[in-house]
Symmetry: C2
Subunit: 251 residues, 2 copies
C-alpha cells in the first residue's frame, strides 16, 4: 500500500494566515517532517510523530518523507510560508526524480509566502511587476544571483529578496544593494520585513541610499522598490509603501 | 469617528485556501466592496451590504471604500487571490494618495495569490527565481510589458503571467510567447492554469513550441519555465512541473 506526502506551507507565522487546507493536512498526517523551528510551530496531536532536521538537510528530509510514504504512511512535509517558493516542494520533486521512492501520492498545499505577508504589512509594494530572487549562492553561482538582480533592476521590476543574509553568507546582500544602487535612484524605498506576523515582527522602510545589510537577518524578507514605488504617510505614523498599477512611457 | 478599510484577498477560489484572517475581515465588515463576481463568492451576513462594481472601475471602487470608511464604516475591499498582487491594495493607496479621504485606518490582509495556487497544483514551477508580470497594457505601455518579458527570459527567470488575455486584449499573449520562444528552448514547459481550485479547474502543461494563446482565458494564470524547469511523470498520469533549486554555472 502506498502512502501520501502532503507538502504544506505554514504561512508566515501567525496561524491566522495559515489556510484551512494546510491545517487539514497537518491534522491528517501521521508524520510531520521538517526543519526543527518550523515543526515547533505545530501542536502535535496524539499518534503524530515529528521528525525534525537541520536547515541544510533539505534533500535528506525530502527522501525521508518519500520513504515513509512508500511504507504506507501519510506524511506532512512542512515549510514556512508557501512550500512552493524557495522551500520544500521543489526539493521533494528533486528527490522524487532521483527515484528512491516510486508510487507515492503527492499533494502540494499552497500557503501565504513571506513576500506576500511582508507586502501586506507595508502597503502594496508588489502591486506591479516584480521578481522573487533568492540571494543564497549555496546551489547557484553567485554570478547568476547578481546577473538576475541587475536584469531585474534594469527592467524596473520590484524585487523581493529571499534568504538575504546568514552567518555563512554575510556579504551577499551588501553586493546586491550596491548593484541596485548603480541602477535605481537613492530615494527608492527599501523594506526590511523581519519575522512578519510574529511577536517580534520588525518592519523598517528606508531609502536605498541608507539601506544596510545589518538591517536584515535570516528571518528578513527584503523588498526593493521599482522607480515607481512610492511612500505616503500612514495615519498612525510611519509610511505606506506601494507600487502604482500605472507605468510611465519610457523616455 | 473614522472607520476602517480591510483590504482582503479571497484566495484562488476554494474556501479551503482562504485564511482565517481573511474570513474574520469579511465577517467584521459592514460593507463589502468589490468586483461583482468576487462578491458573489461571499455569503452575506445579516446587516452586511454588498457594493458590486464592474472590473474596469477599480479606482472608483477604492474611492468608494475610503468614503464609506471616512463616514465611520468598516469596509472590506475585496480581491480574488491576494489583494497585493495586481489587485485592489495598490489601487486603494492610489486613491488614498489622491487625497479624497483622510483619516481612515487601513489593514491589508494577505492571501494566496493565483500563481502560488497554480504552482501548487502543478508541482513546484516557482521553486526558483521567478517574475510576476501583468500582460495588461491598459495602464502601462506595451513596450514596457514586452521589455520586462525579454529581460526575464534573458536572465532565465521563471515567469508567472497575470491577466494574459481578454476580449479587449486578444493579441498580447501571442506576442509574449513569441518573444519567449526567441530566448528559450522549444521544450520549455508552459503551464496554463485556469480557475484553479474551482469546480471548472483546468490545467494544461505544454512545451513552449506548442503553447497557444487560445489555451488561456481571463481566468488563466500562465507559468513559463526557466531553462532548468523540468517535467517528471506523475503517478496518476500527467506530469509534475518543477524548477530545481540548483542553477548551473553559466557557459
Amino acid at each position: 500500500m502506498s502512502g501520501r506526502v502532503l507538502v504544506v506551507g505554514l504561512g508566515p507565522g501567525d496561524e491566522r494566515h495559515r489556510t484551512p487546507a494546510a491545517e487539514d493536512a497537518l491534522r491528517e498526517a501521521r508524520h510531520l517532517v521538517g526543519y526543527g523551528p518550523y515543526l515547533a510551530r505545530i501542536a502535535l496531536r496524539d499518534g503524530q510523530t515529528a521528525h525534525a532536521s537541520g536547515n541544510r538537510e533539505e534533500l535528506d528530509r525530502a527522501h525521508h518523507a518519500l520513504q515513509l510514504a512508500a511504507e504506507g504512511e501519510t506524511v506532512a512535509l512542512v515549510s514556512s510560508g508557501d512550500a512552493g517558493v524557495f522551500a520544500m516542494a521543489a526539493t521533494l520533486f528533486e528527490a522524487l526524480e532521483a527515484g528512491r521512492a516510486a508510487d507515492v501520492e503527492i499533494t502540494v498545499v499552497p500557503g501565504v509566502t513571506a513576500m506576500i505577508a511582508a507586502a501586506a504589512r507595508t502597503g502594496a509594494p508588489l502591486g506591479h511587476d516584480f521578481c522573487a530572487i533568492s540571494l543564497s549562492d549555496n546551489l547557484k553561482p553567485w554570478e547568476t544571483v547578481l546577473g538576475r538582480v541587475r536584469a531585474a533592476a534594469e527592467a524596473d521590476f520590484v524585487m523581493a529578496l529571499y534568504n538575504p543574509i546568514s552567518k555563512a553568507r554575510p556579504w551577499q546582500l551588501g553586493k546586491v544593494l550596491d548593484a541596485v544602487r548603480e541602477r535605481r535612484a537613492p530615494d527608492t524605498p527599501v523594506v526590511f520585513a523581519t519575522a512578519v506576523s510574529r511577536p517580534d515582527e520588525e518592519i523598517v522602510v528606508t531609502p536605498l541610499s541608507e539601506a544596510r545589510p545589518e538591517m536584515a537577518d535570516m528571518r528578513t524578507l527584503v523588498i526593493v522598490g521599482s522607480s515607481e514605488t512610492r511612500c505616503i504617510p500612514r495615519g498612525a505614523g510611519g509610511v505606506w509603501v506601494y507600487t502604482p498599477r500605472k507605468a510611465p512611457v519610457p523616455a
